[in-house]
Point group: C2
Chain length 358, copies 2
């Protein structure tokens, strides 16, 4: 039944149907945006013309320019787009961002890219009112790019310690302390740390000076928190191996291989993400280590998966829902000020931690 008219190309503009209906473009525009102010007879005529010519309604491209606001916020990461749907932490965070957006009627644009050049272009040309930046790997470059757009933006999971960028994150030092404290309270004294990246693209055992020159302040803060607590109870922190992973299964397993090849393997693993911790749980189970009897494991993040792992994971829960909401609010109600918010974390004790053997 529809328009045969729409046969070939479709350069049907508002002006075209205005002409066809014999009204000015101003009136035609009103028919769509404020129908109540135009006389019914005219309104019907214009609508009929639009229908006949196969006009799909005012093109948002045009409206946008005039209106200024896109009514969408961009979420950016330096990972591939599928990161948003694959990574547990990202997923939970996105779900909470979604809710906040739903509530305000804003849309979400996913911005990301495999290579750096494409990423820059994608950020520069994203049609959004502001950015929420996921700072995992490649975070600093991303923050720089986003900042250049001169749009409101907020860094999540702050790994940029630059005071000039708005950020919402958790108190990493306190959280890490809390994690370590839980294990020391249980009596553990032999630890290993499975860290997130300190700098991009490196994995393996890291030295103290490598830590000092970390790109990622978040990672460094968590380590600081761990070590603070460990030294408080008299552990010689220079003997605690710290392995940098890429927050994936491969690098985590490689680290575990080395850690458990040692003469005196640790009785407790401090993992900087639940993802790392969950891989660790799997690896230990495959190697017939019993958790928590042989080894205690504690994660960081509090993703839903941690509640249903085997065994359920003790972890440091971030207030992810709250963070997403705050981030969206920061963009939509941006007043130009940069604000940095540090949210508190909570220790969630589950079955992956217990006193050491003996």
């Amino acid at each position: 039944m529809a328009s045969l008219t729409a046969g070939n190309r479709r350069p049907v503009r508002l002006a075209d149907i205005a002409k066809a209906a014999g009204v000015s473009h101003g009136t035609a525009s009103n028919v769509f945006s404020r129908p109540e102010i135009v006389r019914e007879e005219v309104r019907e005529r214009v609508k009929a013309a639009a229908e006949a010519m196969g006009y799909g309604g005012p093109d948002p491209k045009g409206r946008l320019l005039r209106a200024g606001k896109v009514n969408a916020i961009g979420v950016a990461t330096a990972e591939p787009l599928s990161y948003f749907f694959d990574d547990p932490f990202a997923r939970v965070m996105m779900a909470s961002i979604s809710q906040a957006c739903d509530a305000t009627g804003a849309g979400i644009s996913l911005v990301s890219a495999a290579n750096n050049e494409q990423l820059a272009w994608n950020i520069q040309s994203a049609l959004v009112d502001g950015f929420i930046v996921f700072c995992i790997e490649g975070g600093s470059r991303l923050v720089e790019l986003a900042r250049e757009r001169k749009l409101p933006f907020v860094a999540l999971d702050l790994d940029s310690e630059d005071g000039a960028v708005a950020a919402i994150g958790v108190d990493n030092i306190a959280g890490a302390s809390l994690a370590a404290r839980h294990l020391t309270d249980l009596g553990h004294r032999r630890f290993a740390v499975l860290a997130l990246p300190f700098v991009d693209g490196r994995t393996g055992l890291v030295s103290p000076e490598q830590v000092r020159s970390a790109t990622y302040a978040g990672t460094r803060d968590r380590l600081t928190g761990y070590l603070q607590e460990l030294s408080r109870v008299g552990v010689d922190t220079s003997t605690v191996p710290v392995y940098e992973t890429a927050n994936d299964a491969t690098s985590t397993r490689a680290a575990l291989e080395t850690i458990f090849a040692a003469k005196e393997p640790p009785t407790a693993i401090l993992a900087m993400s639940d993802k790392i911790a969950l891989v660790t749980l799997e690896w230990l189970s495959a190697r017939k280590f019993s958790v928590p009897d042989d080894v205690s494991v504690i994660g960081f993040d509090g993703v839903p998966e941690s509640a249903v792992s085997e065994p359920p994971l003790t972890t440091i829960a971030q207030p992810i829902a709250e963070m997403g909401g705050l981030a969206v609010k920061a963009i939509l109600e941006s007043d130009g000020k940069v604000s940095r918010q540090l949210l508190p974390v909570k220790l969630v004790v589950r079955a992956s931690s217990a006193p050491p053997r003996g």
Copy 2:
């Protein structure tokens, strides 16, 4: 160090910096879009002016109007935005769409809304080159809305049988037959069906005429496939209870309560989605039914979760990755034709199905 200039508002346009640098706006534009054709001295001068005035690069809003292409595809559903990150099927599909988009450098815009009015507006004003529409609940309305935009679009999981809309889906009848056949081959003769919605917002036992008037052709096709196979082996299909669920835990559990309150409960459950099947597995385990010894369960979709459930779920796997890729391709290379593709499904036998007792 940055621009103090950006103190208050920011109406810095390309024209402003052109004036400041003493060149025409044509040249200023070239500095950003084709730097190689402008003399170095001029280029530097313009860039310096831009920097000094706190210009964040050419505003995509302006460029867009000229260029026409947004370079982003919209993914729409009538569910809340968080559906994309919560629902297992959606997540896998989105991951595959993401990959296809990454490969071509296109962005993704998530379009959705709680209420109908907002949804219409969001679709009408989405800045995208085309839509991929998730047809779950509210699918028909969504398809209508998307079609009105007169942009390329493709329906996923086709629940619209309207031949005029492009769609990519699986052969629901064949898939459902395959599922039922697997169970009949094992010897089952007493079944119950846990269906997806036939129409919006209703749950509970459905009658044959309700099935005939289904809004969702996909749901109806799956049922047709089931029943075809069951009657082939001589089951009186009028005795097979069909329960409509909302593809969520609540309605599924309600259906199960009723089903297993019967005198002769089924020995096999045909679930139209893995989500329903997984809830069923949980419910049965809580009620001390043994799967597959007391009851066999088969799902539909083939989401990753089905492989790691307890027990692992026998299911009909959709070629989700392929579907996502095809959908993106259909949008980006749209030639105006509508094409409908029916992809084949595969039976994946795992531990949730076995011969009935005795």
